[in-house]
Amino acid sequence: MVSQARKSELLFSGSDWDFSRLSRVYDEIEALGLEELRLDIYPVQMEVISSEQMLDAYSSVGMPLMYRHWSFGKRFLYDELLYRKGARGLAYELVINSNPCIVYLMEENTMALQALVTAHAALGHNHFFKNNHLFRQWTDAGGILSYLDFAKSYIARCEERHGLAAVEAILDSAHALMEQGVFRYHRPPRLSSEQQREGLRERLEYEERSFNDLWRTLPPPQESGETKTGIDDDAAERKKSLHLPEENLLYFLEKNSLVLEPWQREIVRIVRVIAQYFYPQRQTQVMNEGCATFVHYTLMNTLFDRGRISEGAMLEILRNHSNVVFQPAYDDPRFSGINPYALGLDMMQDIQRISTTPTAEDRDWFPDIAGRGDWRDTLVDAWANHRDESFIRQYLSPALIRKWRLFVLADGADEPHYEVASIHNERGYAKIRSALAQSYDIGASRPDIQVIDVDLLGDRHLRLQHTVKDGVMLEGESRDATLRHVRNLWGYDVSLAAIDGGTGAMLSERWTKEL
């Protein structure tokens, strides 16, 4: 009798899935997530796809719609080969930051896996996308799909009108600068080009309306002579009018290039918008995966405790879970860097622990959250307000550093040895924490390249500046090839100066003329 009652409570049994089961499981998990973890999510759209379609999605950077470019074809070949060889499994799911949130489920998954994936993607990632401040500030979840649709058809039209080669050349050049095509510090202009065109039209109308021929009759400004200050003033004025220095190279080229046709500008813009869309994802890998993993782990365990999932299914879920969060040590042949799933989950579970059963050390390090009891609030707050770098800086605890046995290797290119700089001891905790946080700071680890000057009336020579940090230079061959792409987009000579960030000394300068 008891066993029968228990059985009827099970959400599913057996490994086959169908749509009614998926829907029942989703409803249960959603209700649980909202109530238990106080999640706040976009509506969900689940799409079942085959493995080949998953490979397709992989190659087009995980988006369901993408314009055509040979580099996606190349990526597809690599992904396909790795998959066919068995060197790498496919993801069980793919989730897209859009509203409604699109979750891809693989048809090969068992029902237990589908439940896991639902909790992971449809709840965990979804909550993160909707609430994290980076995504809220920088991406437009409601508009991205229609924008990609526009981008795809626009580029297809350009290919028809101007030929494959011409479009490819622009896309190649724009792709090369994708890393330098994001705004890091202020809000990007709105996605809709409609509004921009509208603004431009209004402005032109205003200028026409307020045109006054009298201005022309004013006497010319006083001759200031050929003094040095005059030239400097000119340069300052010029830079100000172009908003220089500018770190978003694609934006600068799109707005100021003298050789691009309107359709070419639009393509550069499309690449830039997509780069910007992915920028938050790259800054929140650990948090995003950690959040999703934490959510699925907690929810699945709660369901199991309530007798809604059978032991067999739970075992399967746990096996997959532990595969995902596996972190080999640095000397293990399987080691390939720090696993963001593992780090994220461990840190979040650590916050849970600190909130409920803190040690004296935790009270020392985290006076504001230790023993507060309510780990849900702390986590929801962390998910909303941090990115990887600040999250680690804020919450990586000495207990976790010991558990992971983290250590820091100092690596100077000129030295024959690595030096162990810090290990998991009292003197090392803070240093490890800050070094790890630093390594997740994209702004710090990517080369800092800015447009510093261009004389539009003179030889139109575009000057870029690379601020060298810690003596890390740019890789030569790739730099030259990328400079050529900049020249393609700019149309005139380009130079790239490497300036030491500390001393301000010029280390090297590279001209496209020399290439």
Binding site: F19, Q45, M46, V48, I49, S50, Q53, D56, S59, S60, W70, S71, K74, L77, Y78, P100, E107, A122, L164, A176, M178, P328, A329, Y330, D331, I338, R405, L406, F407, V408, L409, A410, D411, G412, P416, H417, Y418, E419, V420, A421, I423, I432, A435, L436, Q438, S439, P447, H466, K469, D470, V472, M473, L474, E475, G476, S478, R479, A481, T482, H485
Partner: protein, 436 residues
Amino acid sequence: MPIFIDRRLNPKDKSLGNRQRFLRRAREDLKRSVRDHVRTGRIADVDREHAVPMPRKGINEPTFGNDKETGRRQHILPGNRTFSPGDLIAKPGGGGGYGSAPGTTASEDDFRFVLSREEVLDLFFEDLELPDLVKLNLKQILSFKPRRAGFSASGAPTNINVGRTMRNSHGRRIALRRPKQAELDAIARQIAELEAKPASAAVSERIAALREAFERLERRRRRIAYVDPVDIRFNRFDPQPVPNASAVMFCLMDVSGSMGEREKDLAKRFFVLLHLFLTRRYERTEVVFIRHTHEAKEVDEHTFFYHTESGGTVVSTALEEMHRIIEERYPVAEWNIYAAQASDGDNFATDSERCIELLDRKIMRLCQYFAYVEIIDERESHIFGSTENGTSLWRAYNAVDGKWPNFQMRRIAAPADIYPVFRELFARQPDLRKSA
């Protein structure tokens, strides 16, 4: 309740466009790979999928990236067991170190991917500069022609035979006595007439009876459909294979010392093209390899292309051998015989006479087509371009050429020269197809 969408049945090759763009991009490299394949593989293998190495040129995606060989950086790693601060660890040789992403450098070298048959042929043809019409014909798989074959009760909606369907429907309606519209109209008219009269018991009774009859007929009409699924007939088509026969292709080649790598490579492509053409035309194609010095021998493909033998050059021996094999194994009634001969043109002067005689008397009567290519040095090509004098074999064959329309000869210095040899062969093909 989320929205579910089943995308499994959506069209699959979403990334086909990307693949085509990629292949176009790496065309030169891929062409070289296919050329190598043709050089080392078997003749029949050209018409198949190939695994080719990832091209190296033109597919880099440069970005501004940090140089790993410069500057100071820190690596944060898990799993410390023995280190204390200040320990020095020797760097592993060859650079790279901990920071490098795995699987991006080492594995790219042995990375191979598969080109489909069409893609291989495209690349192969581009080298030979084949005209589009010919490419199309060669790429075609053995074709079936749909032929009308009566009617069937199932099929695609586009194939519905309306006349036949309506005839069935009509018969069924008659058999089941489906009321006609005219009958209904007549009753309705009667009712209307009666209703127009002043009301009385008899009239209303009559109206009720008519109404009932009307109703009954209408029900019957509803039950017996105008066109029922059982009436529908479809045109039936049977795929009829285009008539085919067997073909045998003789490859004759002079392997004496004067034929070097380049000459053999050109000869091989010439053979490949003829083979492709034959496999398209005929259901069954066999290839016979005969190589000769001062004596001829039938050999397998590998020996044919890769073993060198020294000796003089007596071409007629190969022709004799070919004739012997035809007599022995390939009766003309059952086989279409094609021959392709490649040589550098050297021959004993006296032997050339014998060649003419052999071709004239015996072989040309048996052959559908005989193609001779003389492989010359690129520097000689402008000297020999059009003049009629040349090597002894060339002069001898000239006589045959004039006499037999199915004999073709050509001098070849580069791959692009190969196709013209076959021009007539290919040009004839569409006509043959039409008449078949």
